[in-house]
Symmetry: D2
Subunit: 143 residues, 4 copies
């Protein structure tokens, strides 16, 4: 059984497709980020421009398993979150609801970066504890 | 009073912003199209790749009134639809809910285009009548 | 004869197409902005994030005349620039070189905006004079 | 010494940046694809919409090392190509010329897919031999 920490449902917009009639492979990273934003907002956080600490991505990868076509409904689920000293690793599964198949699995790693000191820094404490709480609640629910 | 034929609410995703911290002006056209797709789906239509008849845009314009920032919630409303022989003209209003201000007004004109005959053709009858019904229902509600 | 103030040649990238096999209509605005950036860079200016004065767009419009397909080579020409007190109006023509046809005509209006005072301001003098010089040189060439 | 099979130089366009002032991480995949298209065109191939054989991506990954900011000039180099039965694996290095630093390393795997039989198929022979020739020429040059 896959643990789902957070999920949201979307449609493939026409502007996200390419000439092969499917969602362009770069957009899978955008929809994963979309869910991450939504997840963090649910915990009380929001990326804002001009912050001292931002979360640039240091790694992103995706395995594509089935196409997403214009109009297809799909769910993006966060299936795992791992916290390092300054990094957050998210695992995602994209499920094509219209097709009844998993469309992709993706991993994105972000690091807390101090734009004044210009180096990675420890994850802000309130961000770390909010995510840890979310993980703990999930464990309790599943116990 | 502005007539609202159809509307949907979204968030500004991080990937839609630019280095000025606001939604890139090209993305307003994408979110208008997004609502158009949703409106047509509500009437039983869906753009599909490989169709004989597609709906390329012949005109698009937008007046920008206030910024949309990452995370802002906004409503895109279709405030008018006009049917020509082969054209559909949509009018949109984008309202920034987080800011409490209208963000933009846009107009998009699409034409029914036959990809085999390679010329504009009359709007498909079922498309025309579905939109006309939607307009009529709205009038009745407002009467 | 159309005056051409500045122009650049590009290819339609696969990621810029949509499921109809053509460049998505929102991308025409992006390629016009691309040429504007290149034009301003040729005059010694560059948009930078975090500037006090930025140039948000207040109006954008495009008339689409012929499709741009994946791989097509096209030229984007600035065919006119008009300077207001705080605004710059650019006119563009996009010519599909592979097809031998004009693909679109676009107009984009930007205003100088002071991000601290949060209001439109007069065009920075050095920006105004650089553009005026470029326009004057063109007239001389054509005389 | 890194082998460079093919390379091209670009600028970061304003529309490719996000609210952190840097090229959005999803766009690195687009610029890699851009170079792949250019490489294949140099060999006489072009992706076209509606082809029976298309090349959907089955895997994409990127390690981000340094930011690309609006206006930065950068080179995307294909540093390796591996041919499987139906797959092509590309390795890319993105070098920020303005900063004098490598910005990212990416890997993209595409497979030849038959849209009628709806399954991966052997790489088209002329595609395989054109790429093999390019690799062979490179070896000869370096010998």
């Amino acid at each position: 059984m896959t643990t789902i920490l957070y999920k949201a449902k979307y449609r493939v917009y026409w502007s996200e497709t390419d000439a092969a009639g499917i969602m362009h492979f770069s957009n899978h990273f955008r929809v994963c980020e979309r869910v991450e934003e939504s997840f963090l907002r649910s915990l009380g956080f929001q990326y804002t421009a001009g912050s001292r600490i931002t979360f640039p991505r240091v790694h992103a990868e995706c395995d594509y398993k089935a196409p997403l076509r214009a109009g297809d409904e799909y769910t993006v689920a966060i299936t795992g979150v791992e916290l390092g000293r300054s990094s957050v690793t998210y695992k995602f599964s994209i499920y094509n609801e219209s097709l009844g198949r998993e469309a992709a699995r993706c991993v994105i790693v972000a690091v807390a970066y101090d734009n004044i000191e210009r180096r990675p820094v420890e994850l802000p404490a309130e961000c770390r504890s909010a995510i840890e709480n979310a993980l703990r609640e999930l464990e309790t629910e599943q116990a």
